[in-house]
Amino acid sequence: MSEGDSTSQNGQQNVEPAGADIVLGVLSYNNAATIEGVIRNAVHGLAASFPGSRSMLVHADGGSEDGTADLALQAAPDRDALVQVVYPVYPVHLLSPDYHGIPGKGNAVRAVFEIARKLEAKACALVDADISELPPQWPENLVRPVLEGQFDLVTPHYLRHKYDGTVINGIVYPLVRALYGKQLRQPMGADFGYSAKLIAHLTQLAEWDPNVTGASVDAWITTQSIARNFKIAQAFLGRRVQSPSGPPPQLSKALAQVLGSLFTEIHRTAPAWQRLRASEPLPSFGVDARQAPESAPVDAQPMIDSFRLGFQNLQGIWSEVLPPTTLLELKKIASQPDETFRFGDGTWARIVYDFALAHRMRVMDNNHLLEAIAPLYLGWVASYVLLVREANAMEVEQCIEGLCRSYETQKGYFIARWRWPDRFNP
């Protein structure tokens, strides 16, 4: 079976062409605990929000062994409106579990896109089945901007507590915002909406390579959409309570996956982001509750210790990536007392840019490079935790906004290093 091939059943029927206005894809892998609720709520949500439209539910499963596929079939009230696809998952996808819990997610996305294209759907939404309860309004939030607002990509904006999603808040969001000029709060996530135009564009691309079929499909689609000037909006979805089917991957591995996919896309789309300077907010849909859930206190001490351990042991590796001035900054940061431990936003932004450049220049094995950033990231997280410990939601937003501005300010440094890497060789 070739990459992206999949077998489909429609309650054991074939997919009919021109059969639906809206396709809602549910991606799963060993999600027996949540799949029934997700399917029921998805069907209910589509019927309630789009009563006059023909909707089709596509369940893409990576060969679950816990009966997820059977449970999904039983949960569907109308089996004619459910297509089940088994997308290919290769050993490589299982050897290194993806951070989002859907192995070979790119193949799943592609399988749903192919069906949406065959059905000539006007809009398609994708949700991961690892959510403990899918709110029925989510399909509407993701699909309506496409159908009525003529948007091509609808990205999620979740309600998260201040310590939640620090990789997104500390790296992904500021980096995408600074480079691509779009204030996308969740460039990589689990739930998205797509237009037929964007799906037609993506499915014809020859870039569904192993990089894309793995964990990086979200980053690839988002950066492709921005670089090709597709219209993008974001939808407030509220809280996303995950119910993962397996243990989470080690932080350094997850970080390496996220950064690896992001850095690859930065390399691919270099001509597009070098022209942009400022960033602009995006049209948002749904209700922005702005009431972040309460968070349990977080102890920053283990993260500070991790950073210091990294500083003691990984300086040789970091010195191949970072310029001497940054290494000096790190030395000062490592020697700060625990209570006043701070990691400057500008320093952090430059470090992320330096690692992106080192990824492009292949100064060392990419896995080594991407895993070597973990102690630095934990140092920044510790500083962030100490900074927002007493902060309310508004102050946290201001803190993240400040970080984003630092990324935007340091973009000139990144472009200069990107264009003339030898001139800045550490």
Binding site: Q250, L251, S252, L255, V258, Q312, I317, M364
Partner: protein, 233 residues
């Protein structure tokens, strides 16, 4: 009697002259070959130096970490050292070819043996370089993973892995060259077995409690993550 002595002396002188006359063309050939090989070596060194500079060999070698790996920090640049090495290899080959032109039994055997030995030297060099690169890669992998797993003695572990692979590689290279014979293999087996036994004893007896505490800490951490207090993604 005098005539006989005179004849013997004449014959000896003839033999000497004949021998010298036989030897001189060979010597001349040796000198000519040596001269040409030195000229070729100069040319090769210059060409090699230009090629290496063009391909930024110094930067690449530094990035690969070969000097650091071998604990070798030459005063001269790696490209200069490599070019010089190519010079001396060509001179040595010219010398061997020239010596074979002398056509003496001893030198011929020597040259044949040396040429027979060269592939082994090349194979040993390949084994050494591959082993050193592998040692560096594994040492880095262990160092980064150990730091990310909060292991305090990460550097020690990394160094251990590096030297283990380098010792294994050296033993393989020496085996290729036929140096040391069984001694190198035995030495390596004793060293490797000793390290494994030491580690087993250290972990099994000495650090039993430390290992158990480490596992408990890891389990606690997993539980905290599972409780969802802190999601990085």
């Amino acid at each position: 009697m005098l005539t006989h002595a005179n004849n013997v002396l004449h014959q000896a002188a003839d033999r000497l002259v004949n021998t010298v006359a036989d030897f001189l063309p060979g010597l001349l050939a040796l000198l000519v070959i040596l001269m040409f090989s030195i000229l070729a070596a100069f040319l090769a060194r210059a060409v090699m130096r230009r090629i290496l500079v063009r391909f930024q060999f110094d930067d690449r070698v530094t990035r690969w970490g070969l000097p650091e790996l071998a604990g070798w920090a030459p005063a001269r640049r790696p490209s200069t050292v490599t070019a010089q090495l190519s010079f001396w290899i060509i001179v040595l080959l010219g010398l061997l070819a020239g010596v074979s032109a002398l056509d003496s039994g001893l030198t011929s055997v020597l040259v044949v043996r040396l040429f027979d030995y060269l592939p082994k030297v090349a194979a040993a060099a390949v084994v050494l370089i591959t082993g050193f690169l592998l040692a560096r890669f594994l040492a880095r992998s262990v160092l980064i993973s150990a730091v990310n797993m909060q292991i305090q003695s990460a550097r020690l572990l990394s160094l251990g892995v590096k030297w283990l692979v380098m010792v294994l590689t050296s033993a393989m290279a020496m085996d290729h060259l036929g140096i040391g014979g069984q001694i190198a293999q035995l030495g390596f087996a004793i060293l490797f077995g000793g390290i494994v036994l030491t580690l087993a004893l250290a972990v099994g007896l000495g650090s039993k409690e430390m290992v158990s505490r480490s596992w408990e800490r890891q389990a606690d951490k997993n539980e905290r993550d599972a409780e969802g207090q802190f999601h990085h993604l």
